[in-house]
């Protein structure tokens, strides 16, 4: 017979109450585990998608000009000493120190042309890298496969009155419209996309490009470093990070994280209240029992140890169950919450030990006052109750 025998036997006897306490704390811990794991998994998923598919570095020709463009409305600009990027130079991008972080390079050549009496902007692209980078594109028809196939933006298709499967004529050459883009709400809607070599030829810019978009994996590398490295390799180009895209997405994630932590805080508070109320009720129910303990010579510290040990055992169980249930919940919820269907669930030992530690801390803190209250009970009260 030791003090822990009393705690364990009491837990066994008050199964319903202790189950309620365990469930209350388990729900709290499970919610926290689910939210934290979901946040981490979604962050990882969004970062991965952002890294893989979104251009975050822009390579444009160096010029001493100022753009006069705002919100898609261009008022022209003053440009002089315009230089160009040679297509061959793009290979140098793959020689930078952080070349392993580059997932795609999408070169583009731009130029105005006349099609069926309309002025349109022709964009020559490498369709493989372009489609990899612009996963959100939805094409009615097919992606162009050869030099005599083009892809039309939705507005361009309407203006040119050409749908997929039909032909258009550019500079006397006939091109098949392989596909039409669904409305994107961006400048892509007004463009005519052709293969890079063909566009270069049509625009008289063989071997040259207007700009290149680079998608870099930025989780393991500072994007600023990569910008510098590329700029060193291409001194005639202006290399800039598309900070808005990165920061915008990170801000959205940050907001979700903050929401999760706020939710977790509320749940922790409710969980603590459940533990407090249950332990307080348990102590009050056991007034006579505690009085008897005190009468036969138990010190205040002995009473506290009995109560806190009970709380610790329940909390430990709740922590383990909470982690298991929480991870299960996260696994079930992740497909509905994440952007991609193959988002990975993050299994983190910090979350595992953290949830058990948090359960213990919560259980013990919330039981501290009830334990103190119990230890201060006057044994005379127990005798009076007889």
């Amino acid at each position: 017979m030791k003090l822990h025998t009393i705690s364990i036997n009491n837990l066994k006897r008050r199964k319903a109450k202790m189950a309620f306490l365990t469930v209350g704390l388990t729900v709290g811990i499970a919610t926290i585990v689910t939210l934290v794991t979901l946040t981490r998994s979604m962050s990882g998923d969004i970062e991965r998608k952002m890294d893989e598919f979104g251009a975050n570095i822009l390579v444009t020709p160096q010029s001493n000009g100022l753009s006069m463009n705002y919100g898609g409305i261009s008022l022209g600009g003053v440009t002089f000493d315009q230089r160009e990027i040679r297509e061959d130079d793009l290979a140098k991008i793959k020689t930078i120190t952080n070349h392993k972080n580059i997932s795609a390079i999408a070169p583009k050549v731009l130029g105005g042309i006349k099609v069926a009496g309309h002025d349109v902007l022709l964009v020559g692209v490498d369709f493989d890298s372009e489609l990899k980078m612009k996963q959100w594109w939805k094409i009615f028809g097919d992606a162009p496969k050869g030099d005599h196939e083009v892809l039309l933006g939705s507005d361009a298709s309407k203006v040119l009155n050409a749908s997929f499967g039909e032909n258009i004529t550019i500079k006397g050459e006939t091109f098949k419209v392989a596909g039409v883009l669904d409305q994107t709400g961006s400048q892509d809607d007004a463009l005519v996309f052709a293969s890079l070599p063909k566009a270069q030829k049509l625009l008289g810019k063989e071997g040259r490009i207007t700009l290149a978009e680079v998608a870099a994996l930025c989780s393991g590398c500072p994007i600023g470093d990569m910008v510098t490295q590329i700029a060193e390799k291409l001194p005639d180009a202006k290399v800039s990070a598309i900070q808005q895209v990165v920061e915008g997405r990170l801000k959205a994630l940050d907001q979700f994280k903050r929401f999760s932590y706020a939710m977790a805080g509320v749940v922790v508070f409710i969980g603590s209240l459940i533990v407090f109320v249950t332990m307080m009720g348990s102590v009050n129910e056991r007034t006579v029992e505690i009085g008897v303990f005190r009468a036969i010579g138990f010190r205040k510290s002995h009473i506290m140890r009995i109560i806190l040990l009970e709380a610790a055992l329940v909390s430990l169980l709740a922590g383990l169950l909470g982690y298991a249930v929480g991870m299960g919940g996260a696994k079930l919820a992740l497909p509905f919450m994440a952007e991609s269907k193959n988002a990975h669930l993050v299994w983190d030992t910090t979350v595992a030990f953290g949830s058990i530690g948090l359960a213990l801390l919560l259980g013990l803190l919330a039981s501290l006052y009830p334990a103190l209250h119990a230890s201060k009970m006057d044994p005379t009260e127990a005798l009076r109750a007889l």
Binding site: L3, T5, N9, E289, V292, I296, T380, L383, L386
Partner: protein
């Protein structure tokens, strides 16, 4: 020198503006090995006297000296230690812990004592055999009769070989036949050298005691 000496014990309780004098200057001396019954009508101060004797109720004034130790001058938790080492309690409603078996209930006072588990179990078994319950060690309280529960409570009170056994109306919840058996058991323990101080309202129990102290309105008659 007597084993227990109470000098001018007064105990007052405040209830709103009223002050109730439960004990109004009690002087008692009890020798080692005595069997004392404390009798009196309800409200005479019997239970208050027992709780003061048991080191659980600070008197308003006066001293309680037990085996040369002034109880209420012990610092901090030393009074709890004193109770654990020197006193045994038997309560009116037995107050066994419902989730512990008979032997576990008896081992309860030993839970805070440095002894091996085997020694604790052996001491508890011996105490239960002394009260005639050697065959019901692993029964839960609700599997025992009232008389058997009383015996377990007595075994729990004597397991640590206390100097004094204090009992508060131990037969109050028992039928007359079981009461007789329990009182005979107290007598038997006293014959073996155990000092017993028992509060009772049953005059028949007085015949088992060496001496009866009668209280009336907080004073010894």
């Amino acid at each position: 020198m007597a084993l227990i000496e109470l000098h001018s014990i007064k105990k007052q309780y405040s209830s709103g503006d009223d002050v109730v004098e439960a004990l109004r200057g009690v002087d008692i001396s009890i020798e080692a090995g005595e069997f004392i019954t404390i009798m009196g009508q309800s409200g005479s101060g019997k239970s208050t006297l027992l709780s003061v004797l048991g080191g659980m109720n600070h008197p308003t004034s006066g001293d309680v000296e037990m085996a040369g130790v002034k109880l209420y001058q012990l610092p901090g938790e030393k009074l709890a230690d004193f109770r654990a080492q020197n006193l045994g309690f038997v309560f009116q409603s037995f107050h066994l812990i419902s989730y512990l078996t008979a032997i576990e209930n008896v081992m309860l006072p030993l839970a805070i004592v440095r002894m091996t588990s085997v020694a604790k179990r052996s001491a508890a078994r011996t105490a239960l055999e002394r009260v005639g319950l050697g065959t019901k060690l692993d029964r839960l309280p609700n599997q025992l009769s009232g008389g058997e529960q009383e015996r377990v409570a007595i075994a729990r009170a004597i397991v640590n070989n206390p100097h004094i056994l204090l009992a508060d109306e131990p037969t109050g919840n028992l039928d007359s036949r079981t009461s007789e058996e329990v009182m005979a058991l107290f007598r038997e323990l006293n014959d073996a050298g155990q000092t017993v101080v028992m509060v009772t309202h049953n005059p028949d129990n007085g015949r088992y005691a060496d001496r009866t102290i009668t209280l009336k309105d907080g004073l010894v008659l």
